[in-house]
Amino acid sequence: MTDQVRRLYVLALSVLGFFLAWAGIAAHPWAAAASQESTSGAALARYEQRLRADAALVDELRAQRAALPAPSVRVVTLPPLTTTRSS
């Protein structure tokens, strides 16, 4: 292999290396990782928000329930006025 052919190979490999590095940098892999982190962080925040909203609803329901009079029920031998069944 002559020096000229060797130089041509080196040049071709350099150009190939340059384009591979360029493609790698242009893909912004660090940006993807950061975006994934921010997506999971946002999902976690939404989940926490949902849990807080659910807890508030449960508190509201408990307060509404406590405000009603306590029901009283017992089995009797009277004839029924009406009959209930599966909804």
Binding site: P71, T83, R85
Partner: protein, 285 residues
């Protein structure tokens, strides 16, 4: 004593009012129940609920906003055992039309379980409800219970009253004797200032490929609940709450698990298994 019977919300409704100060009270109660049905039925394409299910996100009226809020609170309290997002699982199981229409259907598509537990966001500031894509609401039982409570509150202004809408019943003002049929004979429960709800697979069930199907979806599996229970009747302060408790106990798994839950949480209940065993639980005597 005034009495009124009519069909609404897919069942027979009975109203009793022990007062005669306002002859129009029962008319208004009937109108209110029909108005709520028109808003909250999933079987009416023009109902507000059906519009929400089609749109996925919508500004809604105060009734739908409140029932959705109550249903979501129930889902949170029961850790998902009660779930208003079972709509598509019900449809997949074959309950895709009113029960009267269902009886006329022959030949059903193969059944597949459908995921439940979809996200539902309620924004009270803007009266907006938003459903996760792929999920729709079925407020059937809890909407009926909520409507019964609302109508009872209107009648209570005039005097002692009873509202009975199929399996959802609420009373106020005095003790009311209410009959409950079980395989071992009828029981009469004397109820004062409270509500009863019965969930069961004895009525709203149908045949499909692979056997019997019914309308009580277990959100954990996305298919009709398995287990040995036939019906569960529960007493609570309101019909909406009784409706949730009845479903919660029905989905406990079996008769012994439901009895233990009713006893442990002091929920007065009548539990009937498919082999006819009838248990009074939660301190009911």
């Amino acid at each position: 004593m005034e009495r009124r019977c009519f069909d609404a919300m897919g069942t027979e409704v009975e109203l009793f009012l022990d007062a005669d100060d306002d002859p129009g009270a029962l008319d208004r109660a009937e109108d209110e129940l029909r108005r709520l049905e028109a808003l909250l039925s999933r079987f009416r394409p023009d109902s507000e609920l059906s519009q929400l299910n089609r749109a996925g996100r919508m500004r809604v009226g105060p009734e739908l906003l409140e029932v959705t809020t109550v249903a979501l609170a129930a889902r949170a309290r029961t850790r998902g055992r009660f779930d208003p997002t079972v709509h598509d699982a019900l449809v997949a199981a074959g309950y895709d039309r009113t029960f009267d229409e269902l009886a006329e259907v022959e030949g059903r598509a193969a059944y597949r379980p459908v995921a439940c537990g979809g996200r539902v966001a309620v924004d009270h500031a803007t009266s907006t409800v938003e459903l996760e894509e792929g999920f729709r609401l079925d407020l059937g039982g809890i909407a009926k219970g909520w409507a019964v409570d609302r109508v009872l509150a209107e009648l209570a202004v005039h005097g002692p009253a009873l509202v009975n809408a199929g399996g959802d019943l609420a009373v106020c003002g005095r003790a009311w004797p209410v009959g409950l049929d079980t395989p071992r004979g009828a029981i009469t429960l004397e109820l004062r200032d409270g509500a009863l709800a019965t969930s069961g697979r004895d009525r709203r069930s149908w045949r499909g490929d692979g056997g019997e199907r019914h309308h009580l979806i277990d959100p954990a599996t996305g298919s009709p609940a398995d287990g040995d229970l036939l019906t569960v009747t529960v007493t609570a302060r309101s019909a909406a709450e009784a409706e949730v408790l009845a479903k919660e106990l029905f989905l406990a798994g079996d008769l012994s698990a439901a009895t233990a839950e009713a006893d442990g949480n002091a929920i007065p209940a009548v539990l009937v298994s498919r082999d006819g065993a009838t248990v009074l639980a939660g301190g009911l005597r």
